[in-house]
């Protein structure tokens, strides 16, 4: 088949994916929304989530328009040679890039919005279904999650394919990816700040100071807490994986365009990542259809089984594709390596955060000696947890590189293909991930609306499976982001060299060393800014929660409804206003380094940021998950159970870990992707306009 036709197939598969997502959406909507009380509680969460998204998208709309304008102007400037020369203006190219950027941001926003929209409908229907059976509740919640998973991959593949078809150049798709990344960065970081701010306020005042249980409607911060689950884990995580999914494909497209000797070959290697995405979509559709829980079965294994089945189906599709279309077998081996590595990295993350294994049990045990020992132990295991994932990333890099080279393909292209292979089954991965906040919300609604304890027990069981899925997805997305940025790094080098500049990233050069150091400090600084935003906003929310309890004693007595809206509003405003500096770091710093210190230093900068970024992301996600589960393990009655000294120590560890695992850790993936995309996108200009370096 002509490779142009594959682009149409890609668009068709995206339409099918979105079609299935919409049919699942309408199926979810048709389910029983439950009692008036349940619907009232759900409406509080829905209104809070919508209010936040409207504010977020309004701010992002303005930001996207401004950046789009800058892109339109900057990309209209076309220097003739790398050493300068005459500059001509090509407004058409600038406009194309700006439109691609806006399309990327818009597609990501639509996918996130659709996911949120179904999540706030599926939560109450899951709680209502849990009145009847676990199997039915699981089906509602998983189908709700699948709406986000399938809409996301559908929007992404349609966007990439349409722009490639329209412009004929993968560089324009870089603009699309940049738009998606900017939105992902702000959605993920903003959602992360929101969710943890609300969580900490709800826990510290409600649970610790006042002594009311989780999800108690008397807690003024409880609605903000439930809204946070949606904006952080549905909209945020969806945008994050959308970004990695697109970025990995785009990086390979850019590399593909440079390795082909003929135009036909260039097209083939450019389109291959889209074909892998198509195979991934169909594998995910089958995998999602096969995820079932029968009454009496546990939902956790069903989710894991779904991921593994999807992986196997994708591998079979991949083999068939490579075998029958005479594509270089290096593509098969590189993609398979990435696919297997993604699953392994995901499951090794689970080892460090699951209470069936030593790290969580040991952290819980030492909590009997106090919070300090809990934190030291959890942090140490968090550091150890970096090792298997980094070894996995390193092994994948080497295997995919040499597998590609062995079949006469560019090794770097192989690395990029491994990232695409890993992310190709994102439809399934995101479905399992988005299931988590839906069941978490369902549990909250069941609790707040006073449903029977059997319903709570079922919701608890669903929720616990959601936590495991979440841990696996985090490991998966970090591994994928690492491979993606390695491919983007190579793409950056290609774009600079295409501009006529021979790039040399040697640690013997002081500018490169300076770049490496500056890049290395960026993820820690970014993490610090996000976590300080959490503590700053949490402080305001804690004061407001305390004020409501203090001034309205009827709240605790259950005779006066708390002002949930005030807390939701505080969380929204705090999260959005905290994003300015982190966003500048992600976009401004690479440009500053590039335009001032030159392309080699920018290469060093990206290298430094990638290495510390991957390490910080893994450490923070895994340590935070470990502290959380150590606390939950104690709450099952171990080491004194709830209220014991060990529990108090574990609560401190969990609170420290909250912004680690849900704010800073997962946002670092997006940070390094955005910085790599900024570098690749502006590389032609940086190659020409810089103060130092040559």
């Amino acid at each position: 088949m002509n490779y142009i036709n594959w682009i149409y197939v890609a668009i068709a598969s995206g339409i099918i994916s979105i079609g299935v997502a919409l049919s699942l959406y309408f199926w979810v909507i048709k389910q029983d929304p439950g009692t008036e009380r349940a619907q009232e509680v759900a409406s509080w969460i829905k209104e809070g989530s919508n209010a936040y998204l409207v504010k977020l998208y309004r701010s992002l709309g303005i930001l996207a328009a401004l950046i789009g304008l800058v892109i339109a102007v900057v990309f209209s400037i076309q220097p003739e040679t790398a050493s300068g020369g005459a500059v001509t203006m090509h407004f058409g190219e600038g406009l194309t890039m700006a439109l691609a950027f806006i399309a990327g941001a818009f597609s990501s926003a639509v996918a996130g919005y659709l996911g949120m929209r179904v999540a706030v409908e599926a939560n109450v229907r899951t709680a209502t279904a849990a009145n009847f059976s676990l199997a039915k509740a699981f089906k509602v919640s998983f189908n709700g999650g699948a709406v986000l998973g399938l809409a996301m991959v559908g929007m992404a593949i349609i966007g990439m394919s349409a722009i490639l078809l329209w412009t004929g150049t993968p560089e324009a798709v870089l603009g699309f990816s940049f738009g998606a990344s900017i939105l992902a960065l702000l959605a993920k970081a903003g959602g992360g700040i929101y969710t943890k701010t609300a969580d900490i306020a709800a826990d510290l005042v409600g649970k610790i100071e006042v002594g009311i249980p989780e999800d108690d409607p008397r807690n003024p911060a409880v609605v903000a807490d439930n809204v946070g689950d949606n904006v952080g884990d549905v909209a945020g995580m969806g945008a994050d994986i959308f970004d990695s999914y697109v970025a990995s494909a785009v990086a390979v497209m850019v590399l593909g365009a440079s390795i082909g000797l003929t135009q036909a070959e260039q097209l083939k290697f450019t389109v291959i990542p889209l074909i892998l995405c198509v195979l991934g979509i169909f594998a995910s559709l089958l995998g999602i259809a096969l995820v079932r829980v029968k009454e009496g079965q546990k939902p956790g294994p069903a989710l894991n089984r779904g991921t593994i089945i999807t992986t196997i189906i994708f591998a079979i599709f991949l083999f068939i594709f490579v075998y029958f279309t005479n594509v270089n077998p290096g593509v098969f081996w590189a993609a398979l390596t990435g696919l297997i590595a993604g699953v392994i990295i995901g499951f090794t993350s689970d080892y460090f955060t699951n209470d069936n294994f030593k790290p969580v049990k040991e952290t819980a045990r030492v909590s009997t000696s106090g919070a300090a020992i809990n934190i030291i132990t959890g942090f140490s295991y968090g550091l150890m947890s970096i090792v298997p994932s980094v070894v996995g990333i390193a092994a994948t890099t080497l295997i995919s590189y040499y597998a590609a080279e062995a079949f006469g393909l560019s090794g770097v292209y192989g690395i990029g293909i491994s990232a695409v292979g890993m992310l190709s089954i994102s439809g399934m991965i995101v479905s399992a991930d988005a299931y988590g906040p839906i069941v978490d919300n369902a549990r909250g609604i069941a609790e707040m609306s006073g449903m029977d304890h059997e319903v709570i027990v079922r919701a608890d069981e669903l929720d616990s499976a959601g936590n495991t899925a979440k841990a696996i997805t985090k490991g998966f997305s970090i591994g994928a982001a690492a491979l993606t940025v390695i491919a983007l790094f190579a793409a950056y080098s290609e774009v600079v060299q295409d501009a006529g500049v021979l790039i040399s990233i040697s640690l013997k050069e002081p500018l490169v060393v300076a770049g490496v150091f500056l890049g290395a400090v960026t993820p820690p600084l970014f993490s610090a800014l996000l976590m300080l935003a959490v503590t700053h906003n949490a402080f305001d929310m804690i004061e407001e929660t305390r004020r409501q309890f203090r001034e309205q004693p009827g709240i605790l007595a259950g005779t006066h409804k708390p002002d949930y809206g005030r807390l939701v509003s505080l969380a929204s405003e705090g999260a959005l206003s905290s994003l300015i500096l982190p966003a500048f770091l992600a976009v401004g710093l690479p440009l500053l380094v590039g335009f001032v210190l030159g392309p080699n230093a920018l290469g060093g900068f990206l290298g430094g940021a990638i290495f510390t970024g991957v390490i910080f992301a893994l450490l923070m996600s895994n340590a935070g998950g470990l502290w959380d589960n150590a606390k939950k393990y104690i709450e099952t009655g171990k080491f004194g159970g709830p209220g014991s000294d060990a529990h108090k120590a574990a609560v401190v560890g969990d609170t420290v870990g909250d912004p680690f695992k849900d704010t800073a850790g997962p946002s670092i993936n997006t940070l390094i992707t955005v910085m790599s995309l900024v570098a690749s996108l502006f590389a032609p200009l940086i190659a020409v306009f810089h103060l130092f370096g040559f």
Binding site: R218, P553, L556, K638
Partner: protein, 254 residues
Amino acid sequence: MAIYLYLSLLPEALIASMLSPEEFGAYYAVGSVKKSRGQAMFFEVDPDFRHPYFRVEDAYARCVPHEDGSLKASVYISVYRVLEHMDFDALRHLYLTTMDGRTLELSPSNEIPNGNEQLHLYQEIVPVSPLVVSRLGPIAFVDTIVRNPVPLISVPALVFTELQLGDLADDPEMGLMENLPYSNQDHLRQCLTDVKTKYAATKMVDRVSTPNVQYRTIKNGFFVGNKKQLRYFPMPSPEEIRTTNYRWFRSANM
């Protein structure tokens, strides 16, 4: 309008109130505009109970609705040596209220557990509140402290509860204790070993233990004893509480 009489254990007080037990528990735990908060335990007392030590009639006279129509929450009748002047036949139900105001009702039972064969951990609540270990079962324990005191220290009446000891109840030297919620565990183990192996039948673990009780650690129930009688208010099993009073179950971290 009904007037209730309550014997509060935290703190020890006799109180007249227009609030039903659940309302009174919520009020007492989470406070009103005074913003007091905390766990509450109280007996509902027969409103016809009278004793020369208490000016119950005067309190009833003051127990009228406020001008805005809201019910009078509390009129304190006495806050000193209340328990020793109570007639235990007047105690109807015991109510346990969590920190956030959920209330569980315990009814009395005639079947008092003995359990002399094991070691015991008792949290005394009123009139004093040490944490003690003993090789005596509840009946013998009340006998020793209240009815026929062998040690120098005795009290005229006592409310206490027995807490779970797990493996330590049988094997204080080697029994696993890592899942017990008590602090200073080595000292607890030593005290249990002492009462098992030495002459003294009871030993104090903590002089000024907080009278707040983690409800999920209660082994069997609450005991109220004086010279004349011992009454027992058994605690339902966690499964039973979960089914019958889920809100309380959640709130009490059962």
